[in-house]
Symmetry: C2
């Protein structure tokens, strides 16, 4: 290990309280991208982060998109091409906080507290996803600059503010800012470890199609006593359609849904089988015990390599306390599909809509809202920066870093490849119990500190490895 890296790692540990303070400043900003009421907070988060990143020897700018702004920060002076140039990606926007009454502390007042099992954790909306994660990289860069006066590789930053709402404006932003985003490859910090002690690099990501359907029946709410039985009930129509999306074996019933989906290569399947991925380890912590997916698939396949369909929200009629004998005029549901390689998002969306329309009674109407879509991504397991990152992670954690799949979608990875021609290395320090998208989101203090140290090592390893 180089003298420089040793000094950088020592600096990270010595300065850790300040790293935490800086993270807390970012966590206090209510940058909820889904809700227009928080647009000002999203802008404030972008401004704050751009100011912070500017101290790393890069030229940071907040740039408009069709929605919430993005931050682009380029190396000062010209990157001379002699050393590796990485594009780092993260997102400053966070999920909504509802139901807020389930939070043990206010979601935008970060605290360090004790987890039930004794782990120290940071609790706040965005503590992990993605403010905590992106700050591991920023703090690693800060330590390199503090100790050596500069970064060991050229770094361009791209921090967006619409990841949690499907990165709607990112592709056009990449196209319009192509020249400023040139790099050799991308680093993305928005994924998880294998377990609390085992680091991981994610090399397969499921895609996503997110759609909303609204069934309209009568032209107004009706009294269920006067009209019940004779008038179509849009909740009945909706539940009948959604209730038919899976068969008794947990397979999605939409015609053509599995077109192009391939079985795992036998060697990967064998590797996954060897992992401790059981209902006991994966479902018990969340209070469940039975895999809900396709009955003829391993649990790990259900999560990493098989496409799924979930209803993320449903609403209709009277839902307050007590009872109301009403037949609603309309009912809505939000439905998302996790896609794997071979599935075309546009075809899946069309097939879903056809499935719904074919089942709507003739005197009712189905309307749809397209919330987002992205194909699945499979990364090259043999790309060179991946080996450097794997070595650095293994050294920091004292355990072999795993190459894994992820059930979640990070559409930017596909966009980077398509628009910028860049491969991505996905390293993150999240854990399955981080409650991202839920009340009481947390990030292990250990994830934050060793995450910073991991990136410091990865930057050193990339600087030493031949250009990809």
């Amino acid at each position: 290990m180089s003298t420089n890296l040793t000094a950088v790692l020592d600096h990270i540990d010595a300065d850790f309280d300040h790293s935490l303070e800086r993270l807390f400043k970012l966590l206090r900003i209510k940058s909820i991208s889904a809700d227009p009421a928080f647009a000002g907070d999203c802008k404030a988060a972008a401004d704050y982060l751009a100011g912070d990143i500017a101290s790393l020897g890069v030229k940071a700018e907040v740039r408009p998109t069709g929605g919430h702004p993005a931050i682009v920060a380029k190396p000062n002076g010209k990157a001379d091409g002699a050393r590796p140039h990485v594009l780092f990606y993260g997102h400053y926007d966070v999920q909504p906080v509802d139901p807020v009454e389930l939070w043990h502390s206010p979601p935008f007042e970060p605290v360090v507290t004790d987890h039930a099992d004794g782990r120290k954790i940071i609790v706040a909306r965005g503590a992990q996803d993605d403010k905590g994660q992106l700050m591991t990289f920023v703090e690693a860069c800060r330590a390199w600059v503090a100790v050596t006066g500069s970064l060991p590789v050229d770094v361009t930053f791209l921090i967006e503010g619409e990841e949690e709402v499907g990165s709607k404006h990112l592709v056009s932003f990449l196209e319009n800012n192509r020249n400023d985003l040139k790099a050799d490859f991308a680093l993305v910090c928005d994924t998880s470890m294998w377990d609390p002690n085992t680091p991981a690099i994610t090399t397969a990501l499921r895609g996503l199609v997110y759609d909303e359907v609204r069934i309209t029946a009568a032209n107004r709410d009706l009294h269920s006593g006067l009209f019940g039985g004779a008038a179509q009930n849009p909740i009945r129509v909706l539940t009948r359609i959604l209730g038919g999306l899976h068969d008794d074996n947990g397979r999605v019933t939409i015609p053509g849904f599995y077109d192009g989906v391939k079985d795992l290569p036998p060697d990967i399947l064998a590797q996954w089988k060897a992992l401790d991925f059981t209902p006991e380890s994966f479902l018990k912590p969340i209070g469940l015990s039975l895999p809900a997916g396709e009955k003829d698939r391993l649990l790990i396949e259900q999560v990493f390599s098989r496409p799924t369909c979930d209803i993320n929200g449903i609403f209709g009629g009277y839902t307050a306390e007590g009872s109301k004998t009403v037949i609603a005029s309309h009912a809505t549901a939000k439905i998302s599909f996790r896609l794997v390689g071979g599935q075309d998002p546009d075809k899946i969306r069309a097939a879903f809509r056809d499935f719904v329309k074919a089942r709507v009674p003739k005197d009712c109407r189905a309307d749809f809202i397209d919330h987002s879509g992205a194909p699945a991504v499979s990364l090259d397991w043999n790309m060179k920066p991946l080996a450097a990152a794997k070595r650095a992670l293994t050294e920091e954690w004292g355990r072999e870093a795993q190459l894994i799949g992820s059930g979640g979608s990070i559409p930017v990875v596909g966009d980077f490849k398509r628009v910028l021609g860049l491969d991505s290395v996905l390293v993150g320090f999240g854990l399955d119990d981080d409650n991202i998208h839920s009340p009481n989101e947390k990030y292990d203090l250990k994830s934050f500190q060793k995450g910073i140290r991991s990136w410091a090592r990865i930057l050193a390893a990339l600087a030493e490895s031949p250009k990809a």
Copy 2:
């Protein structure tokens, strides 16, 4: 027609503006029984009405129940038994007003306005159900007292405040106040006309079972990317169960649901077939065209004489603007069943719950809330006061009054028979397009005015007819 009645009818027309003012005072009170936040308003409505009724020569009291209070008003002095004694029933509570943004004017600021087709209408929550309806009777009594100094029959009033939440405390109230509620028969004003020009007396009422089910899966909300496919989704579970409540022919699939349900006698069926009750007349005004009930039944049977199942509300997961890739921890639905003669409410509720429990995955849970239940009621078409009421209505409207069924439930009718031994005569002036339980509830000005005149005639007819 007696001189007295002529004078009373003239007085009603001359005093109609004041009748409207008094109704408006009652409509301005936000007596929503379903929402505990409005308990004070319910009390205020009871106090106001008791004060108003006291001016009719009766002794009116607001009496506590286990929930919102009820008004009991008895004849001053002893009813001597020489003339008919009626128990009049109405309710001062109203339905919630959501979605309030769909109201064209604030729900508790009554206005008289023009309907699209030119009819004058009173618009407010409760304009019809049941404040407008009950005030037709109160105003008829007021006119008799104003013109003749007294009522033509003995009248006891019972006005309750929990009809819209299932009249939960009414049975025990009837039991505890049995002595003060003695009468020869009951008059109930909470039903509809056959059409805007044809009066009706309702002689068959469907019963009601109202239940709420909550499906719980994981112990917290989950990220659908990380857990989708492997973890049970309570919305998927709920929609699958509810989507299976009806078969392709519109029949309810709960085992035993139709036990005891009888076909109509051929003569009644023939009479109903002769009525103009078609998709064109009944469904088109609400924007629909196809009967949604059992395919082998007439539309009028689906509404009047067949049991039904409706989902009145459903909620789960993320339902705000935009998208959130969440798997909810739980999902809920409110389900109601309209019952007909022969169906036992307790058995139906148990059968529904068994149906749900048999379909819940082993690692999920189903919890239930009992919102209310009441059996169906069939009244004696040959009871004597019914003939008097039919004659009076026919005279007022110039069209033969129809004896009809009603899809809605008025549990009090069964309770009156069981607890007090009283038959009921159900007369009301509602119309199908009154939007009761919906935004922009209205009552035709004609319904209000001719409703008052109808009751004035009915009171006279009852006074002249031999005691039942």
